[in-house]
C-alpha cells in the first residue's frame, strides 16, 4: 500500500502484512543528494541499523540480500537504513569523484538520517564486503555500537586485486590472454578501468588501497559479528586472524561460517542471487536481536 508523506522527497509504503513501512527518497546535508530506503517497524523501533553496501558488481550481487535482510529486521522491530553512495546507483555524483572519504561521509549521513527519522537510541552498522571497511570506519564515530561484517574486505588493496583478477580471469575463460599490466599501472595511465562492466577509478583506488579493517576501527571496543560466506564451514585463516586482531582491540567478536554460495562476487551472475540467503539472514538477525533487543 502506498501512503502519502509530508516530505515531498519521499515515497512511502507499508508492506502487505503491516509490520513495517518503507520510505524511499533522497537525503543528505550537501548539494549532492543521497538515495536511500528506510525500513521501519510500524511500532516504535528497538534500535537502528545502517547497511553499507559493497561497490562495483558487488553492489548488484549483494543488493537482494540487503533488501531482504532489511525487511526481515524491520518486521522484527529494528529500523534499517539502506543507501547508495554518491556516484553509485540512484545517488547524485560521478563515479570519478567517489573516494573512501565520501563513502564514509555518506554512511554517517545515512546514520544521521536514521536517527533523525526514527529517534532510536541504539545504532549499529552492517557492511557487506567492501562496505565492511566503510561500516567499520563509520562505526568508529559511534562508540561501542554493534557491527556486523559480512565477508568483509580486510585489506582494500586485496579487494582491488581480486577485482582486477576477475577481469583477467574472464579473459582466461574466453581463451584470450591477459594484459601484461597491473591495476595500479592501468589506473595511472587511464584514470579508470572497466571491471566486468563497472569502473574502478583512480580517486577511490588511491584513497582506499592502503586501508585495512582493523585500521579503520581504531581503538574502540564493540560487539562485532564476523560472517564468512561460502561452502567451507571451517573459518578461513584470514578471517581467523581478523577476529583475533579485533579481540585485541577489545571487541567482543562472534564468528559465523554460513554455507551460502556467494563466493567470487565479481564474477557471480546477479541472477544467481535471486534465491533468498536464508541462513545469512537468520544468523545476522539473530545476533542483532541479541545485541539490540529486537523482538523475535
Amino acid at each position: 500500500m502506498t501512503v502519502a508523506d509530508g516530505d515531498a522527497r519521499l515515497a512511502a509504503r507499508i508492506d502487505g502484512g503491516g509490520t513495517f513501512r518503507e520510505e524511499a527518497g533522497f537525503f543528505g546535508p550537501g548539494p549532492q543528494r543521497l538515495f536511500g530506503v528506510l525500513h521501519r517497524p510500524t511500532g516504535p523501533p528497538l534500535g537502528g541499523l545502517v547497511i553499507c553496501p559493497s561497490i562495483h558488481t558487488e553492489f548488484i550481487t549483494g543488493y537482494r540480500t540487503e533488501v531482504v535482510l532489511a525487511r526481515t529486521l524491520a518486521s522484527r522491530g529494528l529500523a534499517v537504513q539502506r543507501f547508495h553512495y554518491r556516484g553509485v546507483g540512484h545517488s547524485d555524483g560521478e563515479t570519478e569523484e567517489t573516494t573512501f572519504a565520501t563513502m564514509r561521509e555518506d554512511a554517517l549521513a545515512a546514520a544521521a538520517r536514521l536517527l533523525e527519522r526514527t529517534g532510536v537510541d541504539g545504532l549499529g552498522f552492517l557492511g557487506m564486503r567492501f562496505g565492511g571497511l566503510v561500516a567499520g570506519s563509520a562505526a568508529s564515530e559511534h562508540r561501542g555500537c554493534p557491527l556486523v561484517l559480512v565477508e568483509p574486505t580486510l585489506e582494500a588493496r586485496r579487494f582491488f586485486r581480486d577485482a582486477w583478477r576477475a577481469k583477467l580471469i574472464r579473459d582466461v575463460a574466453k581463451g584470450t590472454h591477459a594484459r601484461g599490466q597491473g591495476l595500479a599501472e592501468a589506473l595511472e595511465r587511464e584514470g579508470r578501468v572497466d571491471v566486468v562492466g563497472y569502473s574502478i577509478c583512480r580517486p577511490l583506488f588511491e584513497s582506499a588501497a592502503d586501508r585495512t579493517l582493523v585500521g579503520e576501527l581504531g581503538d574502540g571496543a564493540r560487539p562485532t559479528l564476523l560472517v564468512q560466506l561460502g561452502r567451507a564451514l571451517s573459518l578461513r585463516r584470514d578471517l581467523e586472524a581478523a577476529a583475533a586482531a579485533l579481540r585485541r582491540l577489545g571487541c567482543e567478536v562472534a564468528v559465523e561460517a554460513v554455507a551460502e554460495d556467494l563466493v567470487g562476487w565479481f564474477l557471480t551472475d546477479p541472477g544467481r542471487q535471486r534465491k533468498q540467503p536464508r541462513a545469512l539472514i537468520e544468523v545476522t538477525s539473530g545476533w542483532l536481536e541479541g545485541e539490540m533487543g529486537a523482538a523475535t
Partner: protein
C-alpha cells in the same frame, strides 16, 4: 605441488565445481577449460584455493589459459611458484 595438494585440488574440482563424471575420469590431462568444466568463476575459486592451500601467490601475468587448461598445467603453475 605435492601429491596431497594435487588430490585436494582434484577433490575441489569434483566436489565444488561443475564435474558431472566419475572421479577417475578427471585425469591430469583432462581438458578443463575446453570441455567447460571450469569457467571464469571456477578459475577465480581455484586461484583462491591454490593461494590458501598451497601457500603460493599467483601473479597476474600467470592468469593465462594454458595455466588452467588441465590439472597437470595447474600443478605445474604451482610448482613454478614454490
Amino acid at each position: 605441488m605435492n601429491t596431497t595438494e594435487k588430490e585436494k585440488l582434484r577433490g575441489f574440482i569434483i566436489d565444488r565445481l561443475r564435474w558431472d563424471g566419475a572421479s577417475r575420469q578427471l585425469t591430469d590431462d583432462y581438458p578443463l577449460l575446453e570441455s567447460g568444466v571450469i569457467d571464469s568463476l571456477a578459475i577465480f575459486e581455484i586461484v583462491q584455493f591454490l593461494e590458501d592451500e598451497c601457500s603460493v601467490e599467483i601473479a597476474d601475468d600467470k592468469l593465462v589459459p594454458e595455466n588452467f587448461a588441465t590439472l597437470a598445467a595447474i600443478a605445474k603453475l604451482v610448482e613454478s611458484k614454490s
